[in-house]
Homo-oligomer: 208 residues x 2
């Protein structure tokens, strides 16, 4: 019997990332991960349906965080303001110590189509949560779906930029900069107006 262990989920995550990196995702078994984490297989399967779910354990929390962030926006907030609040709440969950772990998880996902499928599904789930929360607050709820898509794109691209370049700013700053670039590209595509040099600089900075 395993004795009580603090943060079993976190230990399983670290063990899984280490083992998937060392010997590949396919070759690593749940038993192996449990052993490395100093836990029993029973504990692992009590927490996760399979080895893959260990990597995506944040999904439920991210879905409620995104929705709560949107709901916390002040009265009269515009669609873009609501999106900002949702993304800021999502970003606030990440501490700088997660930068390296996030980079390693993203590298792992890139090696496996099975993981990429799961990642695409997680992303769609977060977009749906953001969109539903925004629609509930908007006078024109049809703005929610396409804006939530842009927001999730900014969140993921910003997260990758933050982890890859080990950027010193907080994640929220990088993500909102990315969002600003995407929205300004969209605005120019939809109105034919070229963004100002300042906006372009911000965008160039944000993709470095």
């Amino acid at each position: 019997m395993a004795r009580w262990q603090p943060d079993a989920r976190g230990r399983l995550l670290l063990a899984a990332v280490d083992l998937f990196t060392e010997q590949g995702y396919d070759a690593t078994t749940a038993a192996h991960i449990a052993q490395r984490a100093g836990l029993t297989k029973t504990t692992l399967f009590r927490l996760f349906a399979d080895k893959r779910e260990i990597l995506f354990q944040g999904q439920a929390a991210q879905v409620s965080t995104a929705a709560a962030g949107v709901s916390s926006a002040p009265e009269g907030a515009s669609a873009v303001d609501l999106l900002h609040c949702g993304l800021q709440a999502l970003c606030a969950e990440h501490v700088p110590e997660q930068q390296e772990l996030g980079r390693r998880i993203n590298s792992l996902i890139a090696t496996s189509e099975e993981l990429q499928e799961r990642a695409a599904f997680k992303r769609a789930t977060i977009a749906a949560a953001l969109s539903a929360a925004m629609a509930a607050r908007l006078q024109d709820p049809r703005q929610a779906v396409p804006l939530a898509d842009v927001g999730v794109r900014a969140y993921y691209d910003g997260f990758a930029a933050w982890t890859d370049a080990r950027r010193a700013e907080g994640l929220a700053e990088v993500v909102l900069d990315e969002l600003d670039g995407l929205l300004s590209s969209l605005r120019s595509a939809l109105t034919g107006v070229t963004p100002s040099a300042g906006q372009v600089r911000r965008r160039v900075r944000s993709v470095r």
Copy 2:
């Protein structure tokens, strides 16, 4: 040995959809599907990695169709024009006879998280193809990513509306109407300008 069979892929698709509907996705084996299609299991596994891939067999063709559609756009086409060309090419692949089959496949996907994951991945793959083809043609390639996301949203939502309501128009008309609604919602969210009554009517019509 199976004798030569025309359209083995199409027969496997129909057999898979029938069996998944009758007895559930999890309970249906590849052997069962091959048998229903009058083919050997060897033939099935020569064409598809597993039973799930039978449902997503269009992916590679859709990726090249989307890219080719964008590339075929006239010189000087705007970002939105390029997107139109890509989506029209995608829609041209669907004939009215596929309406019922598309509806059944979408219903099946809704019953299984495994299928939803695969569908989200397919969707991301088509978005990436559209976006890459658009970026190659645009003076400001940063418009490609967010517009391709909106385009894929319009394609999927339009396809669902086309199949669910067995709409008489061609798929392209429904999808471009959906795109028009999404872009006009985005435009109003980004510029603060409320769309005209005519635009709103088009959008309301497009979601029916």
